[in-house]
C-alpha cells in the first residue's frame, strides 16, 4: 500500500516514514502544503497522513481540495491542536481520524491499519476469510491457525488483495501501490509472487484463494469471515 505523509517537521516526518516503511508500506513524503497537495492529487495512494499546520498551505485546505477532486482514500490528520474545535474542523473538512501530537508512532501505524481495513470494508483488525486470517497489526498471515513464513513483498501483496477482498486488482495497480520507488518494474514479477503465495497458502490447490482474471488482474476470492 502506498501512503502519503505530509508533515513539515523533517525529524517527525522521516521517523514516521521509516516506521511505516518497516510496517510494509510504500511511503511518499511531502514537506510543505503545496508539494503535499500535488502528491495528494496526482499520485496513486491508498491513504494520506496530513499535518494540519503546514507552511504554504494548510492541511485542511489540502483535505478539502482532495475531497473536492473526488479522492476517497482515508485521511488521517496529525494535529498539535487538541481542542475539539480543531478536531471537528478537520473531520468536517473530510478527514477520517485524527492523532494528536505528540504521539507514539505505534499509534499512527495502528490508526493507519484500521483506516485501511475500514476502507476495504473490514471491521476487525484481523481479516478472516475461510481458514485464512491476516493480522494487520502483527503483519501475520495464518492458515488454519498456522502462521506462514512470508517475505515482506509477499505479505504486501496478500495484504493489498485481502483488504480489497472481492475486488479485481490489476497488475499495474499492484506494481504502483506496492513498490517503493520505480513503477517501471516488470509486472511479470508480480505473477511470480502470486504463484509463490498460492503455493504457500494453498499447497493442495483446494482453497484457490487468489483468482486470476485474464487481462484484468487478480481477486482474493474467499468469502469474508463473520467479522468482515
Amino acid at each position: 500500500m502506498r501512503l502519503l505523509v505530509i508533515e513539515d517537521d523533517a525529524t517527525l516526518r522521516e521517523s514516521l516514514a521509516a516506521k511505516l516503511t518497516d510496517g510494509g508500506f510504500a511511503v511518499e513524503q511531502a514537506g510543505d502544503g503545496r508539494e503535499g497537495l500535488y502528491f495528494a492529487l496526482e499520485y496513486p495512494i491508498d491513504l494520506a497522513i496530513v499535518d494540519i499546520g503546514l507552511p504554504e498551505m494548510s492541511g485542511l485546505d489540502i483535505i478539502r481540495q482532495a475531497r473536492e477532486k473526488g479522492k476517497t482514500y482515508p485521511i488521517l490528520i496529525l494535529t498539535a491542536r487538541d481542542r475539539w474545535e480543531d478536531k471537528v474542523d478537520g473531520l468536517d473538512a473530510g478527514a477520517d481520524d485524527y492523532v494528536v501530537k505528540p504521539f507514539h508512532v505505534e499509534e499512527v501505524t495502528a490508526r493507519v491499519n484500521a483506516l485501511l481495513r475500514r476502507s476495504g470494508g473490514w471491521a476487525s483488525s484481523v481479516l478472516t476469510a475461510g481458514p485464512v486470517a491476516l493480522d494487520m497489526s502483527r503483519q501475520e498471515l495464518t492458515v488454519n491457525e498456522t502462521a506462514l513464513e512470508l517475505t515482506s513483498f509477499e505479505y504486501k501483496i496478500i495484504e493489498y488483495l485481502m483488504v480489497r477482498a472481492g475486488q479485481v486488482i490489476s497488475k499495474t495497480e499492484l506494481t504502483e501501490r506496492l513498490y517503493d520507488q520505480d513503477f517501471e518494474r516488470d509486472s511479470n514479477v508480480i505473477e511470480v509472487f502470486i504463484g509463490r503465495l498460492r503455493k504457500k497458502i494453498d499447497p493442495d490447490n483446494t482453497l484457490k484463494p487468489i483468482e486470476t482474471l485474464r487481462g484484468r488482474g487478480y481477486r482474493f476470492a474467499l468469502e469474508r469471515g463473520p467479522s468482515g
Binding site: K87, V88, D92, D97
Partner: protein, 456 residues
C-alpha cells in the same frame, strides 16, 4: 473642538446672540411704535388747542391770539410749529416759532380728516406733520374752509430712540459677557470630577493607587464603577496567568527531573518506556493547559450565541468517522431554538469530551439532550446531558473523578483530563458537572449552565 467646555461655550454664545438679538429687535420696535403713538397724540392735542384758540372776526377771517397755550409756539426755532391756510393755500397765520423756517406745504387733506405725514423741512430736519381741513362757521353764518397744520420736529425723538438702543445693546452685551464668564467658571467646576478620574487613572498606571476612589457625581459613578471592575478583572486575569504559568512551570519540572535522573542512570532495558512515560506526563500537562476554557481568558463581552444543534451535528459526524468500527448509535434530543451564550470552542470542548467518553465506554447507544436551563426560554442557559449504556460509574468513583484535576499537580496523567476540562469550563460559566446513573444503564453526565453568569 476637542474640549467639551469650548464646545459648550461656543454653543451658548450662539444661543445668547440669537435670543438677545430677537429681544433687542422686539424691544426696539415696541419702543419706537409707542413713541410714535405718543408723538401723534401730542400733535393732536396741540391742534385741538389751536382750533380752540382760533376766533372768527367779522371780516370773515380767523384770528389767533398772540400768545398760545404752548410757549414753544412762541419761541423761534423751538421745533414745534403751526400754521393756518385758506382753501386756496394762502397762508393766513403762522406761529412765531416758525419764523425763518419754511414749512413744506404737503398734501391737502380732505375735509374733516386728520392727515399725519412724515416730512422734512428745507434744512433736512425730519418732522411729523398733522393737517386738518375744517369748515368754519363765520359770524355772518357763512361756512369757510380753513386748513390747520401742526408740525413737530422729530430730532429729539430720534435722539431718544438712539439713546435707548445704545443702552439696550450695552446692557445686553454686559449680561451676555457675565453669563459666558459664569458658565465657563461653572464648567470648570463641574468638569473637575472628569479631570480627577483622569488623574486617578494616571496614578493607577503609576502604581500609586489600586482603584478609583468612587466619590464621583451620580453621572460618573457608573463609569467609575465599571472602570474599577475592568481594573479588577484585568488584575485578576494577570494573577491567574501568573498562577497558571507558575503551576505549569512547576509541574513540568518533576518529569524533567525524572528524565535527567533516567539519563544519569544510563540506558537500561526499560529506559525508552520510562522516558516515554515522562514525555507523556509532560504532554498531558501541556494538553490540560491548552484546553482550559476560553471564557476565563476573554470576558463576557466577546461571547456570542452558539447554535448548539449545528455544533453537535458536526461533532457527531466527526465521531461517527472516528468510532466507525464500533458504530455507536448516537441519539439526539436537542431543542432546535436552543442557543448557548458563550464561546463556541468551549461548547465543543464540553460536548466533545463528554460524547467522546460516552462513545468510548458505551455498548452501542449514546444519548445526548440539550435544553434551555430556564423553562423553554433560549436565553443562553443550558442543560446538556450525555448518557450511555456502558458499565457506568459508581458513586464513590464519580466523586473521585470530579475531584480530580482541580489542580494540575494532583491530576493523574492520562485519566479524566477530558472530564476535568469539562468541569473547569462549566464552572467558569458559573455552572456545574454532575455524574449519575443513566436510564440506559451506564453513566450520565449532566452539565448545567445558568442563564446569567459572570466570567470568573
Amino acid at each position: 473642538m476637542s474640549s467639551l467646555s469650548t464646545r459648550l461655550l461656543i454653543s451658548v454664545s450662539v444661543l445668547l446672540m440669537f435670543f438677545f438679538g430677537v429681544t433687542i429687535v422686539v424691544l426696539d420696535t415696541a419702543f419706537r411704535s409707542a413713541g410714535e403713538q405718543a408723538q401723534a397724540d401730542i400733535l393732536d392735542g396741540h391742534l385741538m388747542a389751536i382750533l380752540a384758540a382760533a376766533e372768527a372776526t367779522d371780516a370773515g377771517v380767523l384770528e389767533m391770539p398772540p400768545d398760545l397755550h404752548e410757549p414753544r409756539f412762541g419761541s423761534i426755532g423751538s421745533g414745534l410749529y403751526a400754521e393756518m391756510r385758506d382753501d386756496q393755500g394762502e397762508l393766513i397765520w403762522r406761529s412765531r416759532s416758525a419764523l425763518g423756517t419754511e414749512i413744506p406745504e404737503g398734501t391737502q387733506p380732505r375735509s374733516g380728516v386728520r392727515l399725519f405725514l412724515n416730512e422734512s423741512l428745507l434744512d433736512g430736519t425730519p418732522v411729523l406733520t398733522l393737517s386738518l381741513a375744517v369748515q368754519w362757521e363765520l359770524p355772518n353764518g357763512e361756512l369757510r374752509p380753513f386748513v390747520f397744520k401742526v408740525v413737530e420736529s422729530l430730532e429729539s425723538f430720534h435722539a431718544q430712540v438712539a439713546q435707548f438702543r445704545r443702552q439696550l445693546f450695552g446692557w445686553f452685551a454686559a449680561v451676555a459677557l457675565i453669563m459666558l464668564l459664569s458658565i465657563s467658571v461653572l464648567l470648570r467646576r463641574q468638569l473637575r470630577p472628569l479631570r480627577r478620574i483622569e488623574n486617578e487613572i494616571g496614578e493607577i498606571e503609576q502604581g500609586k493607587r489600586t482603584s478609583l476612589s468612587g466619590q464621583f457625581p451620580t453621572e460618573l459613578t457608573g463609569v467609575a464603577r465599571n472602570m474599577n471592575l475592568l481594573i479588577d478583572s484585568e488584575r485578576a486575569r494577570s494573577d491567574r496567568y501568573r498562577v497558571t504559568l507558575d503551576n505549569l512551570a512547576h509541574s513540568l519540572k518533576t518529569p524533567l527531573a525524572a528524565m535527567r535522573a533516567l539519563l544519569n542512570q544510563g540506558k537500561s532495558e526499560s529506559f525508552a518506556d520510562r522516558f516515554n512515560e515522562q514525555i507523556d506526563r509532560m504532554d498531558e500537562i501541556v494538553r490540560y493547559q491548552l484546553r482550559k476554557p476560553a471564557s476565563s481568558q476573554a470576558n463576557k463581552l466577546g461571547l456570542s450565541l452558539v447554535d448548539v444543534e449545528q455544533e453537535v451535528r458536526r461533532l457527531i459526524d466527526g465521531l461517527n468517522k472516528v468510532y466507525h468500527d464500533k458504530g455507536p448509535a448516537i441519539e439526539t434530543d436537542i431543542d432546535a431554538a436552543m442557543r448557548f451564550r458563550g464561546d463556541s470552542g468551549d461548547f465543543l470542548e464540553i460536548a466533545g469530551n463528554l460524547l467522546d467518553n460516552a462513545c468510548k465506554w458505551c455498548r452501542g447507544t449514546v444519548r445526548v439532550s440539550i435544553h434551555p436551563s430556564s423553562g423553554g426560554k433560549s436565553d443562553g442557559g443550558m442543560i446538556l446531558v450525555v448518557a450511555d449504556d456502558g458499565p457506568g460509574i459508581p458513586a464513590e468513583a464519580a466523586d473521585a473523578l470530579l475531584q480530580r484535576g482541580t489542580r494540575l499537580d494532583e491530576s493523574t496523567p492520562g485519566h479524566g483530563i477530558g472530564l476535568a476540562i469539562v468541569k473547569e469550563i462549566a464552572e467558569s460559566y458559573g455552572g456545574k458537572l454532575e455524574i449519575n446513573q443513566s436510564e440506559l444503564g451506564g453513566a450520565e453526565f449532566r452539565v448545567t449552565i445558568p442563564v446569567s453568569w459572570r466570567a470568573s
